[in-house]
Amino acid sequence: MMGRMTIPIGPQHPLLKEPYSVSLEMSGEQVVAASLRVGYVHRGIEQLAQRRSYVQNLYLVERVCGICSHVHTTTYCQAVERLADLQIPERAAYIRVLLCELERIHSHLLWLGVLAEAIGFTTIFMYAWRDREIILDIMDALTGGRVSHAANVIGGVRVDVTPPQAEWLGGRLDELAGQMYLFESLLHDDRSFQGRTQGVGVIDAEMVHSFGVVGPLARASGCRMDLRRDAPYAAYSRLDFQVVTASAGDVWSLAEVRLGEIRQSISLCRQVLDGLPEGDLAVKAPRRIPAGEAVVRCEAPRGELLYYIRSDGSERPARLKIRTPTLPALMVLPRLLPGLEAADVAPVIAGTDLCIACSDR
């Protein structure tokens, strides 16, 4: 009865939000080995990008991922702006930060809901996604889209934040900040949540360095890497925030880091709204981008997002390369799973916050 069994998780499984396949070899209730397959959603975006103009590619890269669409366009625009030697207006930089941070909040709330659902805590899933609606409403009001914003243009931003909007936004952020106490008490006081997430799926510092794990996963293991601090872009060098870290590296620490980051993001949004400089929204960008190459890194909700663009002087990029932060997490995952109880697989997989659309491109 307790022999070896292979349990397929995916590509269709209630646990997975996107198609990938984890094959678990079990001995009784313990995982003995795990292997991973991706590529189910490979759309050939890098190849498509070579056949489209820089402006068309802006809308293409936005659709790499639904959850972190804005940071993809931000990174892309920054790379093209470096190549074309464009300096975006300060107001645009601040608005880019605003949208990046709002996206970070909504991504982390989404993650919390998915984690809660994975451990059977449907209530928190419902509450987290209800509060995420606050952010989606804000996005909708500012940009016209809940998930896909088309807020950036090469040379700046397309959307503006008027004073009445800023005031309304501030009110809704206060509302969200008021709700955070619930999730923080979940973290610190709820025994059933702690029982399922503490000590589970530990990523140690050595794994972080050898696999290049980035983002909240790395910060939960004590690694203080945050590109907003280490290589500031947009308006981050003018803003004040803390890099949130934890030390245990387990799923509980991931929750601690992400909830801390939500608080920091709310504070960043408020700073942006209070200190929004006057000015234009964008500078004019040329159709043909001068030849050259550029590597740009931004801190997406899941970590370091890298874009490499090589231009040959024409209207189309010669090469567009996207490296998303989920890739190292996917590489680490098959090493986290062996030795776990079957029931721990769900929180570990949900905890690593995988965005397969991002990594498959």
């Binding site: 991706v38 590529g39 490979h42 050939g44 890098e46 190849q47 070579q50 056949r51 790379a79 470096r82 190549l83 030697d85 972080v208 360095h209 050898s210 696999f211 290049g212 794990v213 980035v214 890497m225 280490d230 290589a231 050259g292 190459e293 550029a294 590597v295 740009v296 890194r297 370091e304 890298l306 490499y308 090589r310 040959d312 010669a318 090469r319 390369k321 490296r323 890739l327 190292p328 996917l330 590489m331 498959d360 491109r361």
Partner: protein
């Protein structure tokens, strides 16, 4: 910022044959051109002596002169190592024995550009279907 002098010394130590060129790009990234034979040596030296944090990505691309592969590295600041190889039967040494995290990046370069990485433990298709029998997608000409 990367200490360019220290970097130059380190590279001179690793690559006696060809002197690598160091440029800082418009993006603030430091680009270093090295030959494929020096690749493993340089990476090892960087890991030991500098503020090495992690390997971010491996970008393969094709241009008029052949294939070039960029190894994007984060040392507290960005450094990209460029290695060139010919378009016919391209082979490069695999970084996986040094950096386990190079695994999928090399598999992707293999899928999309057909580059063989010698020493890679598992060079199976990552993104493409198992039975892909066409040319590597990024090598196909525009409109193909």
């Amino acid at each position: 910022m990367i200490d360019l002098e220290a970097l130059r010394e380190l590279l001179l130590g690793c690559c006696p044959a060809a002197i690598p060129s160091i440029q800082v790009g418009v993006d603030g990234e430091t680009y270093v051109d090295i030959s494929q034979d020096d690749l493993l040596g340089v990476v090892y030296a960087l890991m030991q002596t500098t503020n090495w944090h992690h390997l971010s990505a491996i970008t393969g691309s094709a241009d008029e002169e052949g294939l070039q592969v960029l190894y994007h590295v984060w040392l507290g600041a960005g450094l990209s190592l460029r290695v060139r190889c010919g378009q016919e039967a391209p082979r490069l040494p695999s970084l996986v024995p040094l950096i386990p995290g190079a695994d999928w990046y090399e598999r992707e370069a293999h899928d999309l550009l057909g580059i063989e990485f010698s020493g890679h433990p598992n060079l199976k298709p990552l993104l493409l279907p198992d039975k892909w029998d066409g040319p590597p997608p990024l090598l196909a000409k525009d409109g193909a």
